[in-house]
C-alpha cells in the first residue's frame, strides 16, 4: 500500500496548513513528518507529499527540495544515528579521537550502518555547539564535551537499549 501519514503526523499536518498563506511552504515540514514516520524519505513518500499538498507542488519539486537538505535521510539509517561534528572548534577539542573510537567500537567506517541496523555513523560539518566540543548528535540529543571514554559508555548504553 502506498504511504500515508500516521495519525499523529496527520494531526500535525492539519495544524500546519493555516500557518502559511502559500501551501508550498508545507514541503519541508511534511518531509520531516515523513521521516518521523518511517525514518527516511523515499519516492513513495515524496509522491504522497506532492499529492497531499497538491497543485502546484510536483513530485519533482519535492524531490528537488528533499535532496538539497542534509537532514532528510534519503536511505534508511540505523536506530541510533551518530553524527559527530568534525569542524574547527570540535576538531580543536579532539573530535578525531571520538570518530576513531566510535568507528573502532562499532567496526564501521564513516557513512556506514551496522548489520543489525542499530547504528549509523556520520561526520557532520557543524552542530552549533562549538564551546562544548567534541560534540555528537545521536538522534534528537546532543552529547557534549565528549571524551573517548564517555562515548564508549554512551555506545554501550545505547547498545543495551537497542
Amino acid at each position: 500500500m502506498a504511504y500515508q501519514f500516521s495519525s499523529d503526523s496527520e494531526t500535525r499536518f492539519q495544524k500546519l496548513i493555516p500557518q502559511f498563506p502559500n501551501k508550498r511552504s508545507l514541503i519541508l515540514p511534511c518531509l520531516f513528518l515523513l521521516q518521523r514516520d518511517q525514518g527516511f524519505v523515499d519516492h513513495d513518500g515524496m509522491q504522497y507529499i506532492a499529492d497531499r499538498i497538491g497543485n502546484p507542488v510536483s513530485l519533482a519539486h519535492v524531490h528537488g527540495v528533499a535532496t538539497f537538505y542534509t537532514m532528510y535521510n534519503k536511505k534508511p539509517v540505523g536506530k541510533f544515528h551518530i553524527q559527530i561534528c568534525a569542524n574547527i572548534s570540535c576538531y580543536l577539542a579532539g573530535s578525531d579521537s571520538i570518530t576513531e573510537k566510535v568507528c573502532e567500537k562499532l567496526n564501521l567506517e564513516k557513512g556506514q550502518t551496522s548489520k543489525d541496523k542499530l547504528f549509523t555513523v556520520d561526520e557532520v560539518q557543524c552542530l552549533g555547539a562549538c564551546g562544548f566540543g567534541p560534540v555528537a548528535q545521536i538522534n534528537d540529543r546532543y552529547y557534549e564535551n565528549l571524551t573517548p571514554e564517555k562515548i564508549d559508555q554512551v555506545l554501550e548504553e545505547l547498545g543495551r537499549k537497542g
Binding site: 542534509t70 569542524n87 580543536l92 557543524c126
Partner: protein
C-alpha cells in the same frame, strides 16, 4: 565592570518559562510598544540606540525596519535562528534559555513595521530549542501575549515556528526566505531586497535572534540610554561565543569595546594548558584570522576588528594555541564551505571544492608552491561580487589570510617543485 542586558537572569533554572520572564519584568516593553508608542517612535528609538544586527553583517536594525514600504501588501517578520557558522553557538543559548525575550522582541518589531504574521526559522538540529520555543509560543498565546488583540492593544500578531533542514546557506536571508517558501535554499539576486520583495514577494524583515532579544531592553530603557553602553559606533552588549583552546570556553555577554585580551585571559581563563596564543578567528569562521599580536590590541567592537582587516561577524571567537595545526584547521573550514555551497554559482560551486582539494593535498604533504599560487589565483575569481551571495567570499576569507599570515606553517608542508629534467642528447648512430 561587565554590564549585562540579555543574560542577567539566564542562570535561573526556570529562565525559559513565562512565569519567570514575567517575574523579572518581561512583556512590559511590548505592552508599552503596543499601547503607547507609534511605529515611528519604535523605529526611531531603535535607530537612536544604534543597534546593529547581531547575525553577522552588523547592519543598523532601525534602518532595516524603516525600509519597509507602507503598502497594503502583507508584511512579514522572520527570526533567523538558523545558526550554523563554525564557531557560532550563542543563539542556541537564547533560544533555550530566553525564548520569551525573543518573542517579545518580535512582537515589538511587528508593531514597528505593521506586520501581523511572523516566523521563527530555527536550525533543524536544534530540536531541544525547537521544543522549548514551541512551548513558549503556546504559553504566550494562552496569556494573550501573542495572537489577537495582544495585551488589550487591539494589535494582532501570529507567530509560527519553521524548522530548517540542514543547510548552512539558509542563514543567508534570501536563501532562508526561499527555504521558508518550500524551495531549495538558493540565495536570491538582489535587488530587490527583502524589505521590498521578500517572503511570498511581500515586504519582509529578517533579523537574528540576538538582535530581537535586544529590542525589549531598548524600549524599556530608551534608545538614548542604550546608546551609552558599549562604544559610540558599536553600542550595546554582545554575546561572544568562545571556543577552541581556552580554559573556559562558553558564551559571555560583555560590553562592546571590551579588549580581546580581557575576554581571552580574564573571562575565559587564558589559554588551555598554559600554552602561548597563536591565532584568533574573531567573528565566526568567515572572518579573517588574527595573529596573537593583533589579538592583543583588538577590542571587541566592529570598528576595532575592521581596522585589523577582519570582522566581528557573528561574535564567534575561535582561539588557537601554539599547538594548533593551521593547515588542518584551514582545510576543515574549506571543507565546510565546499560542503555548504548551494551550487548555483560556478565560482563558488567549483572554487570551494577545488580549494578544499588543494588544501587536502598540502596537508598530506603532497602540495607544492604551485598549489599555493593556484589557491591565490582561484580565490581572486571567487570574491568581490562574482557570485549571488557571499559564501565564496567567506571561503576565501577563511583560507587566504591564514595562508598569508602563517606562510611558514604552510611552507613546511610543501614538497619542493620538481625541476624539469633536461632532455637527453641524441647520439647519432654511426655504427
Amino acid at each position: 565592570m561587565i554590564r549585562k542586558l540579555l543574560t542577567t537572569h539566564i542562570d535561573h533554572p526556570e529562565s525559559h518559562t513565562l512565569k519567570h520572564y514575567l517575574s523579572v519584568g518581561g512583556y512590559e516593553s511590548s505592552k508599552k510598544a503596543l499601547n503607547i508608542l507609534t511605529p515611528e517612535q519604535i523605529i526611531n528609538d531603535v535607530k537612536t540606540s544604534g543597534l546593529r544586527g547581531r547575525g553577522g553583517a552588523g547592519f543598523p536594525t532601525g534602518n532595516k525596519w524603516s525600509f519597509i514600504p507602507k503598502t497594503d501588501k502583507p508584511k512579514y517578520l522572520i527570526c533567523n535562528a538558523d545558526e550554523g557558522e563554525p564557531g557560532t553557538f550563542k543563539d542556541r543559548l537564547l533560544i533555550e534559555k530566553l525564548p520569551h525575550m525573543l518573542i517579545e522582541g518580535m512582537v515589538i518589531a511587528a508593531k514597528a513595521i505593521d506586520c501581523h504574521q511572523g516566523y521563527i526559522y530555527i536550525r533543524g538540529e536544534f530540536m531541544k530549542g525547537l521544543d522549548i520555543v514551541e512551548v513558549a509560543v503556546n504559553e504566550a498565546y494562552a496569556a494573550g501575549l501573542l495572537g489577537k488583540n495582544i495585551q488589550g492593544s487591539g494589535y494582532d500578531f501570529e507567530l509560527a515556528i519553521y524548522s530548517g533542514a540542514g543547510a548552512y546557506i539558509c542563514g543567508e536571508e534570501s536563501a532562508l526566505i526561499n527555504s521558508l517558501e518550500g524551495r531549495r535554499g538558493h540565495p536570491r539576486l538582489k535587488p530587490p531586497f527583502p524589505a521590498v520583495s521578500g517572503l511570498y514577494s511581500c515586504p519582509t524583515v529578517v533579523n537574528n535572534v540576538e538582535t530581537f532579544c535586544n529590542v525589549p531592553h531598548i524600549i524599556q530603557m530608551t534608545g538614548e540610554e542604550y546608546k551609552k553602553i558599549g562604544t559610540e559606533k558599536s553600542p550595546g552588549t554582545r554575546l561572544f561565543a568562545v571556543s577552541g583552546h581556552v580554559k573556559k570556553p562558553g558564551i559571555y555577554e560583555v560590553e562592546m569595546g571590551t579588549p580581546m585580551k580581557e575576554l581571552i585571559y580574564d573571562i575565559c581563563g587564558g589559554i588551555k594548558n598554559d600554552k602561548n596564543l597563536k591565532a584568533v578567528i574573531p567573528g565566526g569562521s568567515s572572518s579573517p584570522i588574527l595573529t596573537s599580536e593583533e589579538a592583543m590590541i583588538a577590542t571587541m567592537d566592529y570598528e576595532s576588528i575592521a581596522s585589523l582587516k577582519s570582522m566581528l561577524g557573528s561574535g564567534a571567537v575561535i582561539i588557537m594555541s601554539e599547538e594548533a595545526d593551521l593547515v588542518e584547521t584551514t582545510y576543515r573550514l574549506a571543507e565546510f564551505y565546499s560542503h555548504e555551497s548551494c551550487g548555483q554559482c560556478t565560482p563558488c560551486r567549483e572554487g570551494t571544492h577545488w580549494v578544499k582539494d588543494i588544501l587536502h593535498k598540502i596537508k598530506v604533504g603532497e602540495g607544492t608552491e604551485k598549489d599555493v599560487e593556484l589557491i591565490y589565483s582561484l580565490s581572486r575569481n571567487m570574491e568581490g561580487g562574482t557570485t549571488i551571495c557571499p559564501l565564496a567570499d567567506a571561503c576565501v576569507m577563511a583560507v587566504r589570510p591564514t595562508m598569508q599570515k602563517f606562510k611558514e606553517e604552510f611552507a613546511k608542508r610543501l614538497q619542493p617543485v620538481e625541476k624539469p629534467t633536461e632532455p637527453k642528447k641524441e647520439v647519432a648512430n654511426v655504427g
